[in-house]
Symmetry: C2
Subunit: 141 residues, 2 copies
């Protein structure tokens, strides 16, 4: 998988929006919670918007909102919005096709990698943003 924090921050953003309970939030406010720059947040929000998880509105009083109730958003949804489609990158250079292993290893692997990805997504689908919000709220500060 990719060595970035997109998935984690994406979850953070959606949990924060859920915590606001319908209120619109600006990217600047969200950036204050995540502790980064508003433009970084807008970049991630645009991925979440592409996945139809949030909407944006410009102008004063504008900002960002969830498109559905937090109970209807799973970590799998966020994962699909934020991460690469390949779970494990293949070789950078194609393996030697004249080698009995190199010639077919990628094909053999792809099926297994698909199954791993499926198992990962199934686990992610078990947790919703509402679950997370509840946990966050009930934790000692």
């Amino acid at each position: 998988m990719s060595a970035n924090s997109r998935f984690t921050v994406g979850i953070h953003i959606l949990t924060l929006l859920a915590h606001g309970d319908g209120e619109t939030m600006t990217s600047e406010y969200i950036a204050g919670s995540v502790n980064t720059n508003p433009v970084v947040i807008r970049r991630l929000l645009s991925l979440l918007r592409d996945a139809k998880l949030v909407t944006s509105q410009g102008g004063p009083g504008g900002g960002w909102q969830l498109t559905r109730p937090p109970r209807g958003i799973t970590l799998r949804d966020i994962y699909l919005a934020m991460e690469e489609s390949t779970i494990f990158p293949m070789h950078t250079n194609p393996p030697n096709p004249r080698c009995p292993v190199g010639g077919t290893i990628q094909e053999a692997l792809s099926g297994h990698f698909d199954e791993v990805r499926l198992a990962l997504e199934q686990q992610l689908a078990k947790t919703t943003v509402a679950d997370l919000l509840e946990e966050v709220k009930s934790m000692p500060r």
Copy 2:
């Protein structure tokens, strides 16, 4: 996870060694199958050696060997040898502790990430190098 091909190439290397059926192989030969530089291969082999999956021997006629039969090596073993311990990186900067979500989101997430990692590893454990070797051998070229 990290955006590199270590896991894939690690599997390739072990499958190749399994294909040799006990014969020692040099890093140069392996590099020929993977289509890269022998030093790159030795870097990865040293990770596999740290995980006690292969042994090396210097000098003429030296090279690399599996330490156990291919049926006893799973993709999980290789994954643990090659990949980072964190499945999804956390925030680069710590979130705002004064925010009700930022203050506890990482703690709330870590448990879920652990479960995802567990599910991933359980799926990986289902496939052995022997399985892969068999598939590679039976595939049309």
